[in-house]
C-alpha cells in the first residue's frame, strides 16, 4: 500500500509538471477555442484552407476571416491596455471609430456628401481622424484618471453621444467618398496581393508589442493595475499611465474607424463599428486577461479577437440568418465564459484529478500483488 502511494505520487509529479505547465499557460484557453472553431470549419467546409488569387487579391476563408477581424483586433489592442491599467473597460470604442472616420470624411469631402475629389491630402485627413480618436480617448482618460469615475461609466458618455457627434461632423448625413484611392486603406493598394486591412492590423499589433515590450510601459501598466498604492510609492504616476492608456486606446479605435470606413467607401456613423466594444471586451476576456486589471497578454487578446471573428464568420458560413446570429453567438459565448470561469476550472480539475487517481489506483492494483 505504501509502495503504491509512492508510485502514484511519483507519477503525478513526473507527468504533472509538463502538462500542468502547458495547461496553466494563459494562452492555452483561447488557442483551444480557436482550434475548435477551425476544426468545425474544416469539417463543414472542406475548402477552408483553400487560398486563391482573384482580382489580384488573396481570397478564401482564412484571408476573409483575417480581413474581417481587422477592426476588432485593432480595437481589442486598446481595450487590453485599458483593462490592464484600470480594471475597467471602455465601451465607447465603437463610437470613437465613428467620430474618427467622420473627421477624416469631413477633411476629404468638405461639405459635399458625395464627391470624387479630395479636398485635402488623404494623409492629412487620416492624421486629423486619428487626432479625433485621440481627443475622445483623452476625454475618457480625463474622466477616469483625474475625476476617478469608473471606466465603464465614464465611457458611457461617449458611447451615448459619440455617434451623434460624429453625425454632426458630417452635416447629419452619410457621406460617400468616391475617389478610388480612398479604398487603399480598407481594401487594397494596387499591386499588393494582400488586403491592406491585414497589413494595417499586423502593423498595429507590432507597434503595440514594441511599445509594451521595448519600453517599460507594459510593466508600469500591470503594476498600476495590480496595486495602485504600491505603484505610487515606487514613484509611478498612475493617473498619467491610465490617461495614456485611454489616449492610446482612442487612437487605435481611430485607426479601426479609418480602416472600416475606407473598406466601405463611406462614412456612416450609425453603422461603423456598431457593437464592436462588446466583441472587444469578449476578446480580451477570451485572451485570458484579468478583467479586473493587472497582468495582460497582447498575444492572448489578438488570438481572442480572431476567435470571436472566426465564430461570427463560421456562423454565417453555416448559413445562419443574420437575425438568428446573435442567439447562436450568445450560446457559444456562455459556454466559453463558463468554461473559463475559476469555479468551473477548479471543479473540472478536481474531477480529472479524481478520475486519474481512480485509473492509477486500478492500474496499481492490477499490476501489484494479487490478493
Amino acid at each position: 500500500m505504501v509502495a503504491d502511494n509512492k508510485k502514484i505520487d511519483y507519477r503525478k509529479q513526473s507527468t504533472g509538471l509538463s502538462i500542468k505547465k502547458i495547461l496553466s499557460s494563459r494562452l492555452i484557453f483561447p488557442l483551444v477555442v480557436l482550434l475548435i472553431v477551425v476544426i468545425q470549419n474544416v469539417i463543414t467546409t472542406p475548402s477552408f484552407f483553400n487560398i486563391s488569387i482573384t482580382n489580384g487579391l488573396l481570397s478564401g476563408y482564412i484571408p476573409n476571416i483575417l480581413d474581417e477581424a481587422s477592426e476588432l483586433v485593432i480595437v481589442t489592442l486598446g481595450m487590453t491596455l485599458i483593462t490592464a491599467a484600470c480594471g475597467g473597460q471602455d465601451i465607447s470604442v465603437g463610437a470613437i471609430m465613428a467620430v474618427s472616420a467622420s473627421f477624416c470624411g469631413l477633411m476629404l469631402n468638405g461639405s459635399e456628401y458625395r464627391t470624387e475629389v479630395f479636398h485635402n491630402p488623404y494623409a492629412l485627413a487620416l492624421i486629423v481622424g486619428l487626432i479625433g480618436g485621440a481627443m475622445c480617448g483623452a476625454f475618457n482618460g480625463f474622466m477616469v484618471s483625474v475625476l476617478k469615475i469608473q471606466p465603464m461609466i465614464a465611457s458611457l458618455i461617449l458611447f451615448t453621444a459619440g455617434r451623434s457627434i460624429a453625425k454632426q461632423i458630417t452635416y447629419g448625413q452619410t457621406i460617400y467618398i468616391m475617389n478610388p484611392s480612398f479604398k487603399y486603406l480598407g481594401v487594397q493598394i494596387p499591386g499588393v496581393p494582400v488586403r491592406t486591412t491585414i497589413l494595417v492590423t499586423i502593423l498595429m499589433v507590432l507597434i503595440v508589442i514594441l511599445l509594451v515590450k521595448r519600453t517599460s510601459l507594459g510593466m508600469f501598466i500591470e503594476s498600476v493595475g495590480i496595486n495602485g498604492s504600491a505603484s505610487r510609492l515606487v514613484g509611478l504616476n498612475s493617473s498619467a499611465i491610465k490617461f495614456m492608456a485611454f489616449v492610446f486606446c482612442g487612437v487605435l479605435a481611430g485607426v479601426a474607424g479609418l480602416v472600416g470606413s475606407s473598406g466601405v467607401g463611406s462614412v456612416n456613423s450609425g453603422e461603423l463599428g456598431l457593437y464592436i466594444e462588446m466583441d472587444a471586451i469578449l476578446a480580451v476576456a477570451l485572451g485570458g486577461n484579468m478583467l479586473g486589471g493587472g497582468k495582460f497578454s497582447i498575444a492572448g487578446s489578438v488570438i481572442g479577437a480572431y476567435t470571436v471573428q472566426a465564430i461570427t464568420t463560421t456562423l454565417y458560413a453555416m448559413s445562419i440568418r443574420a437575425d438568428q446570429l446573435n442567439v447562436f453567438k450568445a450560446i457559444i459565448i456562455v459556454i466559453i465564459i463558463v468554461a473559463s470561469s475559476e469555479v468551473f476550472k477548479s471543479k473540472f480539475r478536481a474531477l480529472t484529478d479524481a478520475f486519474t487517481r481512480k485509473v492509477f489506483d486500478k492500474n496499481a492494483n492490477d499490476g501489484g500483488v494479487e490478493k
Binding site: 517599460s216 510601459l217 510593466m219 500591470e222 498604492s229 514613484g235
Partner: protein, 516 residues
C-alpha cells in the same frame, strides 16, 4: 467618581477563560474580562494583543474555542451578531457604517421604523428621533441627510442608534481616530451621559490621554493573554505602557545597549532637515527633525502615535501642507514619491501587502520597478540586466524563491520584505525610511535585517527606522524620536536612550524626564 459603587456592584457581563485559535496562531488564551453597568472600561494592548479578537468573540463574529460568557450571572451563548443584539450588546466601529444618503431619523430607525396602519409613519419617526437626539444632546436635525453632518456627529448618531436598541453594553472601537479635539470632547460628554444611564461601555483606543480622561477601569492584553484589570487610579501611565509593551522596570535597568556611541556634531550639515513639516491627512503636528549621514534614527511611540505619518510626510507619500524640507542643505520641494526618490530617498512602507508588494508581478519585476521608474518609461533596463540584478539581490539577501520569475505573492512574508528591501537598495539611496521592516518576520530574518541596517549606516547612508520592538531600535539607532498622540514629544540620545526613559516619554504626563 463612583468607583466605590462600581466596586460593590457585581459585573453585568463577564467573560471567563476565553480562548480562540486560528490556524497557526493562538489569538486568545484564558482571557477574563468583566464589565459593570455604568462604567467606561478601556481595553488596551498593542497590535496583535487580542483586543479585536476578544470583541469579535463577544459580538458573535468569531466563535470562541473555550471559555464562557455570562450576562447578569446567567450563562449565554453568542453565535452571531444577531445573538449579540438580542443580548443588548452593540458595537460602533471606527468607520461609521450607516447610510450616508438617508436622513438622520431614517438611519436611527432603519429596520424598525415606527408604523401606523402598516405604513411607515414619518411624523412619528421624526418626532421620536428628535427626542432621542435631544435626550443625548446631539445637535443634529432628524430630517437632514446623514452625510451633511460632520464625522463626529455621524459617529454619535451611530452610537445613538446603538443605544436606542435598548443596549446595555456598548463597544466603541477606535471611535476617535478621525475626530479633532473638539469633536472628541463632544463624544466624551455623550459617553458620560450614557454611563450615567447605566450603559456599560467598552472603549478601545490607542490614545493614552483619552483613556485617562474618560475611563474608569483598564484591562490590558498582551500577545493574546490577560495582563490584568486595573482601576484607573491605580495604574499610572508609565506602568500602563510597560504592561502593554511587556517590560518590567527592573529588567529594563539591567538591559545594556550594545552599540557604538558615535554622536554627531550639531554643526555638521544634516542630510535631512525638516522645519515645521506637516502633511495633509496625517494630522501630525508640525515637527522639526535633523538626520545626519551614517545615522540611524529610531521612531518610537505606540501604534497610531503618528510615527508612520511623520516619515511618510518626509517621503512625500502624503502631500505636505506646511513646513520645509532640506536635503543636504538644499530646499527640497517634494510633492510626490518620485521627487523624494530623485533626491535619494527610499521608503519601505508599514503595510507590506497594501503598499509594498505588487502581488502578481514576479520577484524580478518587483525588484527592478523602483529603479525603472527612476529611469522613466523609455530608458528600459534590458531584460538581461534585470535578471542579473534580480539574481544578485536574491543571492545577497538570500531571498528564498523558486525562481526570479515567481510571483512575489507566493513568497513568505519575510522573503517578500527582503524583495522590497532589494527594490530600494538597487536604487542606491542615501536616505532610507524603513517602517516596521521586521514585522511578522521570523527571528533569523529579523537579525539579518538589523545587521543590514547597521551596515548601510556604516556606508554613510542615513536611516529612519520604525519598529514596535524597542530592543531592536535600541540596538540599531543612534537617536530615538518619541511620538505621542500625533506629537513629536522628544528626541533621546546617549545615556537617555534606554527603555525606561523612552517609556516615560511615550507615557508623558506625570513623569517628565527633561524631554518635551
Amino acid at each position: 467618581m463612583d468607583t466605590i459603587k462600581n466596586e460593590l456592584s457585581s459585573p453585568f457581563l463577564t467573560m471567563t477563560g476565553i480562548g480562540k485559535s486560528f490556524p497557526g496562531v493562538r489569538a486568545l488564551s484564558n482571557v477574563d474580562f468583566s464589565l459593570r453597568r455604568g462604567e467606561i472600561h478601556a481595553l488596551m494592548g498593542e497590535n496583535g494583543a487580542g483586543k479585536s479578537t476578544l470583541i469579535k468573540v463577544l459580538t458573535g463574529v468569531y466563535l470562541m474555542d473555550e471559555g464562557s460568557v455570562t450576562i447578569e450571572g446567567k450563562p449565554v451563548v453568542i453565535r452571531s451578531p444577531q445573538d449579540a443584539q438580542k443580548h443588548c450588546i452593540s458595537t460602533v466601529y471606527q468607520e461609521v457604517n450607516l447610510c450616508p444618503n438617508l436622513t438622520v431619523a431614517e438611519n436611527l430607525f432603519l429596520g424598525r421604523e415606527p408604523r401606523s396602519l402598516g405604513l411607515i409613519s414619518w411624523r412619528k419617526m421624526n418626532k421620536q428621533a428628535a427626542e432621542l437626539l435631544q435626550n443625548l444632546n446631539i445637535s443634529a436635525s432628524p430630517t437632514s441627510q446623514l452625510d451633511s453632518c460632520s464625522i463626529a456627529i455621524q459617529q454619535m448618531i451611530a452610537i445613538a442608534r446603538a443605544v436606542n436598541t435598548n443596549c446595555k453594553v456598548l463597544i466603541l472601537d477606535e471611535p476617535t481616530s478621525s475626530l479633532d479635539d473638539d469633536e472628541v470632547n463632544k463624544l466624551y460628554s455623550l459617553m458620560r451621559k450614557l454611563k450615567a444611564q447605566g450603559v456599560g461601555i467598552i472603549y478601545i483606543t490607542h490614545f493614552l490621554e483619552q483613556v485617562y480622561e474618560v475611563c474608569d477601569r483598564i484591562t490590558v492584553l498582551r500577545n493574546g493573554e490577560l495582563v490584568g484589570e486595573y482601576l484607573i487610579e491605580n495604574l499610572p501611565r508609565l506602568e500602563l505602557v510597560m504592561k502593554m509593551i511587556g517590560k518590567e522596570l527592573e529588567i529594563l535597568e539591567n538591559l545594556k545597549v550594545e552599540k557604538d556611541e558615535s554622536l554627531f556634531s550639531e554643526d555638521e550639515q544634516p542630510m535631512i532637515e525638516a522645519q515645521g513639516l506637516s502633511s495633509g491627512p496625517s494630522k501630525v503636528t508640525p515637527f522639526d527633525l535633523k538626520m545626519h549621514k551614517g545615522e540611524v534614527v529610531g521612531f518610537s511611540g505606540l501604534l497610531g502615535s503618528g510615527r508612520s505619518e511623520l516619515v511618510r510626510s518626509i517621503y512625500g507619500a502624503d502631500k505636505t501642507v506646511q513646513g520645509k524640507l532640506f536635503v543636504n542643505g538644499k530646499h527640497a520641494r517634494i510633492s510626490k514619491p518620485l521627487d523624494a526618490m530623485k533626491r535619494g530617498m527610499a521608503y519601505l512602507p508599514e503595510d507590506r501587502k497594501a503598499d509594498g508588494i505588487i502581488a502578481d508581478l514576479s520577484v524580478r519585476e518587483n525588484i527592478i520597478i523602483a529603479l525603472q521608474t527612476r529611469y522613466g518609461l523609455f530608458k528600459r533596463i534590458s531584460r538581461k540586466e534585470t535578471e542579473r540584478f534580480a539574481d544578485e539581490y536574491i543571492k545577497l539577501l538570500s531571498i528564498k524563491t523558486a525562481s526570479r520569475e515567481t510571483p512575489i505573492k507566493s513568497l513568505s512574508g519575510g522573503n517578500q520584505q527582503k524583495v522590497i528591501l532589494a527594490r530600494w537598495l538597487l536604487t542606491n539611496p542615501s536616505f532610507l525610511i524603513l517602517d516596521e521592516p521586521t514585522r511578522g518576520i521570523d527571528i533569523g530574518t529579523k537579525t539579518e535585517i538589523q545587521k543590514l541596517i547597521l551596515k548601510l549606516a556604516s556606508e554613510g547612508k542615513s536611516i529612519a527606522f520604525i519598529s514596535s520592538e524597542m530592543e531592536e531600535m535600541l540596538r540599531t539607532s543612534t537617536k530615538i524620536v518619541v511620538m505621542r498622540d500625533r506629537h513629536k514629544v522628544g528626541e533621546l540620545a546617549g545615556k537617555d536612550m534606554n527603555q525606561e526613559v523612552i517609556m516615560r516619554t511615550i507615557a508623558g504626563g506625570e513623569s517628565n524626564n527633561g524631554c518635551r
